[in-house]
C-alpha cells in the first residue's frame, strides 16, 4: 500500500499538467486566500467594532451557533441553487467560494471581538488621557493588544477554509481535494491517500507558518494564547533615603 502511494507521489506524471500537484496546490491556496481575505474584510472590522462598543454581541453568538451547520450540506445547497444560474468557468468556483467565505466569518468575527474586548480598559483610558486620538489608540494600543486572540481566530478560520476547500472538490471545485474525490470515484487508493497526505501537509505547513507569524507579530509583553510570558523579575527597587520617622533601626542597611 505504502509503496503504491509513494509511487504515485513520485511519478512525474502526477506533477505535470492540469491535474498535476503544483496546479492543484496553487488552486487550493488561491481559493483559500481569496475566501479568507473576503471574510476578513467583513468580519475583522465588524468584530473589532462589536468588541469595542459592546453592542450587537448577539451577532457573535449567532455566528458561532451557525457553525453547527454541516459544511458539506452548505456546499451542496449553494451549489445546487447558484450553480445553474452562473455561466462559464466560474460556475463551479463561485458557489464554493461563497460557502468558504461564510464558514470563515464566524471564527474571524469571534477572534476579532474577543481580542478587542480583551484590551485592558485602563490602558485604553490612559491612552486617551495622554492625548492619543482615536486612530492612534486603535492602531497603537487596541490592535496590538488584540493581536493574540485575533490571530488565533485567523488560524481557526484558515484551518476551516483549507478543510472545506478539500471537500468542495465534491461540488467540482479544483484544488488538492480533487485527488481525494476523484480517487474515491475510481477506487484508486494510492491517489486518495497521496492526496490526503498532501492536504494534511499543506494544512500543517500553513498552520505552522501562522504560528510563526503569531510569535513574531505579538509583543512578548502580552502573555496568554501566544508569545512567551516574561518571568517575574526579582529586581529590587532602589528605595529613597530613610524616612524621617522610623523604627529604631537595627543599624544595618542605610536602605
Amino acid at each position: 500500500m505504502l509503496t503504491s502511494i509513494w509511487a504515485w507521489l513520485t511519478d512525474p506524471a502526477s506533477w505535470s499538467g492540469r491535474d498535476g500537484i503544483p496546479t492543484r496546490l496553487v488552486e487550493h491556496l488561491l481559493y483559500s486566500v481569496v475566501a479568507l481575505v473576503l471574510a476578513a474584510a467583513v468580519a475583522l472590522p465588524l468584530g473589532a467594532w462589536i468588541g469595542h462598543s459592546g453592542r450587537a454581541r448577539w451577532l457573535v453568538t449567532a455566528a458561532n451557533a451557525a457553525r453547527a451547520v454541516p459544511s458539506l450540506g452548505l456546499l451542496f445547497v449553494v451549489a445546487m441553487l447558484a450553480g445553474p444560474r452562473i455561466r462559464g468557468d466560474f460556475a463551479y468556483v463561485v458557489p464554493s467560494l461563497v460557502v468558504l467565505v461564510l464558514l470563515a466569518v464566524p471564527p474571524l468575527l469571534a477572534g476579532a471581538e474577543s481580542g478587542v474586548r480583551a484590551v485592558d480598559p485602563a490602558a485604553r483610558d490612559a491612552a486617551y488621557g495622554m492625548g492619543m486620538r482615536a486612530r492612534e489608540v486603535l492602531l497603537g494600543v487596541e490592535l496590538p493588544c488584540a493581536l493574540p486572540l485575533l490571530l488565533s481566530g485567523v488560524r481557526a478560520a484558515t484551518l476551516q477554509v483549507i478543510a472545506t476547500a478539500t471537500i468542495a472538490a465534491s461540488v467540482s471545485l479544483g484544488g488538492l481535494g480533487r485527488y481525494l474525490i476523484d480517487g474515491l470515484a475510481v477506487s484508486d487508493y494510492a491517489q486518495m491517500a497521496g492526496g490526503a497526505l498532501l492536504v494534511a501537509a499543506l494544512a500543517l505547513a500553513v498552520d505552522g507558518l501562522l504560528a510563526l507569524v503569531t510569535r513574531y507579530a505579538v509583543s512578548p509583553g502580552l502573555g496568554g494564547i501566544s508569545g512567551k510570558r516574561g518571568g517575574r523579575s526579582g529586581v529590587a527597587r532602589r528605595m529613597p533615603a530613610a524616612p524621617t520617622v522610623g523604627r529604631l533601626s537595627h543599624g544595618s542597611e542605610p536602605s
Binding site: A68, P70, F76, V77, I167, V171, A196, A203
Partner: protein, 216 residues
C-alpha cells in the same frame, strides 16, 4: 410541501436509523475521547515540560482536514476503507485533540485555594482529583464538550463522501439526485442532533453541579 412530507414519512425508519448511527459515530468518540483526555490533561498539568508537547501535538492532529484523516486512518490501522472503525478512530482523535486542551483549562479553573484546602484536610492525589478537582472543573469541561459535540456531528457528515451511512448520506444523495428536500433533511437532521447533544450535555452539567443552582 405535501410531497416532501410524504417522502419523509416514507423514509422515516431509515432516517431514524441513520440518525442513530450518526449519533453513535459522533457520540461514542466523545465519551472515549473524554476518558482518554482526562488522564492526559491531568498529566500535562503535572509535568509542564510534557504539557507543551501534549497540547502542541493535539493541536497538530486537529489541523488535519477530516476527509484526509478518514482516508489515511485505514493505512495506519490496516483496515478496509469502508470499515466504520476508521470513522470511530478518526473522530476519537479529533475529540481528543479538542478535549486535552479543555481538560487542561478546566483543571486550571479550579481555584488554587480550594485545592490547597483539600490537600490540607488530608485528601491524597487521586482522591482529591475525584472529590474536589473534577466536580469543580465540570463547567469548563462541559463547555468544551459542547463544542466538541457540535464539531463531531458536522465532521461525521463528511464521511458520507466515503460512503458511511449516516445523516450525511442524505446530503450526497440529495445532491446526486438533484433533490433539495433530501439535502434539507440531512442538514436539519444534523442540526437537531447537535441540539440534542448540546441539551444532554447541559443537562448533565446541571445535574453534576447542584451548588451552582442554589441561592439568589
Amino acid at each position: 410541501m405535501a410531497v416532501g412530507m410524504q417522502w419523509i414519512g416514507d423514509h422515516l425508519p431509515e432516517i431514524l436509523r441513520y440518525a442513530a448511527s450518526h449519533a453513535a459515530l459522533a457520540g461514542l468518540p466523545l465519551l472515549v475521547g473524554l476518558a482518554i483526555a482526562l488522564p492526559v490533561g491531568w498529566l500535562a498539568r503535572r509535568q509542564p515540560r510534557l504539557a507543551g508537547l501534549i497540547v502542541g501535538g493535539s493541536g497538530l492532529l486537529y489541523t488535519i482536514p477530516s476527509l484526509a484523516l478518514f482516508i489515511l486512518i485505514p493505512l495506519l490501522l490496516g483496515t478496509r476503507i469502508l470499515d466504520p472503525l476508521n470513522v470511530y478512530v478518526a473522530m476519537t482523535i479529533y475529540t481528543l485533540a479538542l478535549l486535552v486542551r479543555t481538560v487542561v483549562d478546566a483543571l486550571g479553573s479550579v481555584p488554587e485555594a480550594t485545592r490547597a484546602a483539600a490537600t490540607a484536610m488530608g485528601y491524597r492525589g487521586l482522591g482529591r482529583l475525584v472529590a474536589v478537582d473534577l466536580p469543580l472543573a465540570v463547567p469548563v469541561l462541559a463547555s468544551g464538550l459542547r463544542v466538541a459535540a457540535v464539531s463531531n456531528v458536522s465532521i461525521v457528515s463528511v464521511s458520507a463522501l466515503i460512503g458511511y451511512p449516516q445523516l450525511g448520506s442524505y446530503l450526497t444523495d440529495g445532491y446526486q439526485r438533484d433533490y433539495p428536500l433530501e439535502i434539507g433533511v440531512g442538514i436539519v437532521g444534523c442540526l437537531l442532533l447537535a441540539l440534542l447533544f448540546d441539551l444532554a450535555i447541559r443537562g448533565g452539567e446541571r445535574a453534576l453541579t447542584p451548588w451552582l443552582r442554589v441561592g439568589r
